[in-house]
């Protein structure tokens, strides 16, 4: 029976790279619900990118099962079917562009799907519009900034109309403003109903997702709302990660005996809390 509220379901999944001693992922159980905005956090080498690549059949698990829209990925055909549902945006913007012209690159996925030309043209122009790159449709990729290239890559994925998009550290090579652009674009797509899996090592981004999964040494160690995950500052730090600035500040104040709980994520919350405390003096 397929549960319609679940897009991807991983059951007891393990994965090992050829020639590696230790498995990259071990006994992962994870349900990704329709319309979720799920952050995956973990230090380098924790296995978070490997997890991303299991979701669209780029890797096939050694044991356990990965089901995308109710179909288990066992071979290349299943993987192909999964990729129609689940698009992916990678880390290095340069290494995911195939064509020498922006619009040709956006069309690449649709061409692979064998869509009729008119439909491809419509989808490409709509996708470029969504990511705000219409003005660059005839440009060469190497003339664009990192953030712009990443937007083109996203256009290429959304033109294929996937239900899920996995972002595999898609902001880690960008400058702060490019990073914010891309994250906001992902939030917007999520608002429009796309399920988003946001793999990152930026705490501030993870804090703005609905749900946060923390991976360490190939296992899921935390899975909750960002607020609850980050509130346990010590645990998060022990995992080699950081907490958002405001959570850290709350933790510092809390440690010195001030009445502030550590479940503060944003500056607005902190400001309101401090204002409340101080006007009470």
């Amino acid at each position: 029976m397929q549960d319609n509220s679940v897009d991807i379901k991983l059951t007891d999944v393990s994965f090992k790279y050829d020639g590696a001693e230790k498995p990259a992922l071990q006994s992962i159980d994870l349900c990704i619900g329709k319309g979720e905005m799920l952050a995956v956090l973990g230090r380098n080498g924790s296995g978070k990118s490997t997890l991303g690549k299991l979701l669209n059949g780029l890797f096939i698990p050694v044991s356990g099962s990965v089901c995308v829209f109710g179909r288990e990925i066992k071979n290349e055909d299943d993987a192909y079917a999964a990729r129609r549902h689940c698009g992916m945006v990678f880390q290095d913007p340069d290494n995911q562009m195939v064509a020498t012209i922006v619009e040709e690159d956006v069309a690449f996925g649709c061409e692979n799907l064998g869509l009729p030309s008119e439909e491809i043209q419509q989808r490409v122009s709509k996708a470029l519009d969504t990511v705000g790159m219409s003005a660059y449709s005839k440009s060469a990729p190497h003339m664009l900034s990192g953030g712009q290239k990443q937007r083109v890559a996203i256009a290429g994925v959304i033109a294929m109309r996937p239900d899920i998009i996995v972002f595999d550290e898609s902001t880690s090579m960008l400058d702060p403003s490019g990073r914010e652009d891309i994250f906001e674009l992902a939030l917007r797509l999520n608002d429009e109903g796309v399920t988003v899996v946001w793999i990152t090592h930026f705490m501030e981004e993870a804090a703005r997702c609905q749900r946060l999964v923390v991976i360490d040494e190939g296992r899921i160690v935390l899975d909750d709302t960002p607020r609850k995950v980050f509130a346990d500052v010590k645990h998060v730090k022990d995992l080699g990660l950081e907490v958002p600035d405001m959570t850290y500040l709350a933790w510092e104040l809390n440690n010195s005996g001030i009445d502030i709980s550590t479940d503060i994520l944003t500056m607005e919350e902190m400001e309101a809390k401090l204002w409340g405390l101080m006007s009470g003096i």
Binding site: G87, M97, F108, N112, S117
Partner: protein, 271 residues
């Protein structure tokens, strides 16, 4: 910063010639080359020059761009000219020294052969100046597609070509960056003997190769993630379609060929 890199020598534009189907342009370029070869005299060449001039005008390409492309073959043109000049046997010898001689026929031959070379190159220039590398690749892929039935990898070659074009600027930029990084570590790429200089390239080439392989690996994965499974079942956003303008272009070239045959038959200016 390599923003001004132009790949090949494509000169962007929206003219009649630019908008021709790339297959038409490739086939007509071949036809044009045949015209140059069958032309037996200077009158024919005159027609061809007029044709090239007309094309350049229509495509709004300045003649200097066409001549610029002749520079790389200048040496070959000169050698051809000299060989023909000294080596042709002719009756009315004007000058003789050992086995070298210059005759009236020799001069005619030399000019003719040199002109032929120049015309061959300028003609093909028209193709590369008015067709972007990617359109050219598309055209070649489509022309060779019938041969994929007998195992010719038309799609794969075209894909390779297109990826190469895409990554050339990236790799040039990377080369520049690594060169500077190694210079900052005291590397010297400019002085010393040939062997020393070749060895000095190692710190540049190893990282470049490592990076190229990493990029290839990631690109392959990104392509797979976007449902790429080779050429089978693929469609095109802008499929190549022959139109009326292709027919007009064909007529022009047929006219040129016809006129050349007439001049050949008339014997005027034939060598």
């Amino acid at each position: 910063m390599l923003n001004n890199i132009t790949l090949g020598q494509f000169f962007p534009g929206e003219s009649f010639i630019h908008r021709l189907d790339p297959r038409t342009k490739i086939l007509l370029t071949i036809a044009f080359l045949v015209c140059v070869f069958i032309s037996r005299g200077f009158l024919g060449f005159g027609l061809i020059v007029a044709f090239i001039y007309m094309c350049a005008k229509v495509a709004r390409i300045q003649l200097k761009f066409i001549f610029r492309g002749l520079k790389p073959i200048a040496v070959i043109v000169i050698i051809t000219f000299l060989l023909n000049l000294f080596m042709s046997a002719g009756k009315d010898v004007l000058w003789k020294w050992g086995i070298l001689s210059i005759s009236v026929q020799g001069i005619k031959n030399a000019v003719f052969m040199a002109l032929r070379l120049i015309l061959l190159v300028t003609g093909t220039q028209l193709l590369t100046l008015t067709t972007s590398p990617i359109r050219l690749t598309d055209g070649l892929e489509s022309l060779f597609l019938p041969f994929s039935k007998i195992g010719f990898p038309a799609h794969e070659l075209a894909m390779m070509m297109s990826i190469a074009l895409r990554f050339i600027p990236t790799l040039i930029e990377e080369t520049q960056k690594i060169t500077r990084a190694q210079k900052a570590r005291g590397a010297d790429f400019e002085s010393g003997s040939l062997i020393k200089r070749a060895k000095a390239l190692l710190p540049l080439l190893v990282p470049l190769f490592v990076s190229a392989f990493r990029r290839a690996d990631e690109l392959a994965m990104a392509m797979e993630a976007r449902c790429y499974r080779g050429g089978k079942g693929r469609t095109k956003m802008r499929p190549l379609r022959y139109g009326r303008k292709d027919l007009y272009a064909l007529c022009c070239v047929i006219l040129l060929a016809g006129l050349i045959l007439v001049t050949n038959a008339s014997g005027i200016g034939v060598i």
